[in-house]
């Protein structure tokens, strides 16, 4: 019974979530049109899209732990949309950077990507997200089978690169990037197979204590 109710609620939940994920973008566009982005509108768009890319990436990574904690499947049903929205905001972030911030001056962009580590890691994270976004469909899940899961584990690396990108660009006040880093650490800690790891370590110790 409960399960079928969840099934019925899911389409509505997806519509609500879709609107919620689009809202930050809508607000940024509204602010841009109404001239409310503040004294440095390019910076406001750059930081706004970057913040939401990272937030949605972390929310996406929270779905698997949430399923385990609640015993419900709905977090997994919402995960793809969240992940694609994370990619959407990363793409917006990159667009703002290339077009408004760097004014499509490709030589300086190449310079940035090669010489500036925080931009390098951000760019690598974007490139790594592309295959994940492309293979997010049901068809690709079926086609890739177990390899789909292996491929999509890349998101752990991407999230780490995203947080490092933020940490390395800050001038002095590390508080905010460290909040993202802490949340990511907790989310990744859920992925560590602690039981197996413990058993392994005990096994090693037994092996070593032998004659």
């Amino acid at each position: 019974m409960a399960r079928s109710r969840a099934e019925r609620v899911l389409p509505l939940a997806k519509v609500v979530l879709f609107a919620a994920c689009l809202a930050p973008c809508g607000l940024l566009v509204w602010d841009a049109v109404s001239g409310s982005l503040g004294p440095n509108p390019v910076e406001a768009l750059l930081h706004g899209t970057g913040d939401w890319a990272l937030r949605l990436l972390l929310v996406t990574l929270a779905m698997t732990p949430l399923r385990r904690l609640t015993g419900q499947v709905w977090p997994i049903r919402l995960r793809r949309m969240l992940g694609l929205f994370a990619f959407f905001y990363v793409a917006l972030h990159l667009t703002v950077y290339l077009w408004l911030d760097r004014e499509l001056a490709w030589s300086t962009i190449v310079d940035d990507v090669i010489k500036r580590p925080y931009i390098s890691v951000g760019f690598v994270a974007f490139l790594m997200l592309i295959p994940l976004a492309l293979t997010s469909t049901r068809g690709w899940m079926r086609r890739l089978g177990r390899r789909w899961t292996q491929l999509h584990r890349a998101v752990y690396v991407i999230a780490v690169l995203g947080v490092v990108h933020y940490l390395w660009l800050v001038k002095a006040d590390l508080r905010e990037p460290l909040i993202y880093a802490s949340v990511l650490t907790i989310l990744l800690a859920f992925r560590v197979p602690w039981d197996r790891l413990g058993a392994m370590l005990r096994g090693v110790r037994v092996g070593r204590s032998g004659p």
Binding site: G38, V42, W168
Partner: protein, 323 residues
Amino acid sequence: MLIKRPSDIASSEITPPEIYRRRREFIKAAAAGIGLAGAGPLLLGGGSVLAETSGGTAIPNVRPSPFSTDEQRTSLDDVTHYNNFYEFGTEKSDPAANAGTLKTRPWTLVVDGACEAPGEIGIEDLLSGFTQEERVYRLRCVEAWAMVVPWVGFPLGDLLRRFKPTSKARYVAFETLLDPEQMPGQRRSVLDWPYREGLRMDEAMHPLTILATGLYGELLPNQNGAPLRLVVPWKYGFKSIKSIVRIRFTEREPQATWNMMQPDEYGFYANVNPAVDHPRWSQKKHRVIGEGLFARKHETLPFNGYGDQVASLYSGMDLRRYF
């Protein structure tokens, strides 16, 4: 030649602050009028902000200066709401929101070190004892953005001479107020407080170097470094230390806050130089605040366009090494 030196700045060119205030009030009224009363303060960046920038005290008898640029001035609103002043928070909007706790009266500046007549001077004496001039200067931040600010102030050299620096005085060290009660940003050790900066003696005595007491004809708003700040227009903004309580003549190069924190990113000299990139971003171009979302960036000039006046201070120096 980009630097123009008009012998006189027509006061008609300067938009009086009252006009800005009226504009703000108009926007506020309009926002309320069309049923956006709730959104109004949000759009304007907070209702309290209105009170902070209005009702400033005009500085009397401000003289124009031939050193002023006639470039388009950045609006009072942007000059007072986009600030790096970590003593009040690390976001650009924090100083305007938090600097109300700073008490700028009474305010005493201590001048000591290698000089014959060390002593103190109060802010009122600084305002009445030195001819206040308007200096419209370009301001170039190390973060690759820029403004044009109509400062009010007087040459730093005029003040320094009164304290009779000795031959041992090769540098001048500056210190910001240290008081976490008044400066909430100092409760976290984001920087090594108090904020410190320094100049070489010849830089300090250069006629372009001023101590600012105001902007747009009025006393400095707290978020801009009230009641007394340094302005060195050919150097990146972080050299222009705010809310100064102490000036000391020294024999050795003094400590400078950002330089101590990241010596490879922020040099002691910090002269604006498009040829020397900050390790994390290019310094070849900058964005001028207030020009909008789609405005093109501007080419950054050596010494922020003040090369004719100051380049000779550094002749023979390797500016890549002493960046």
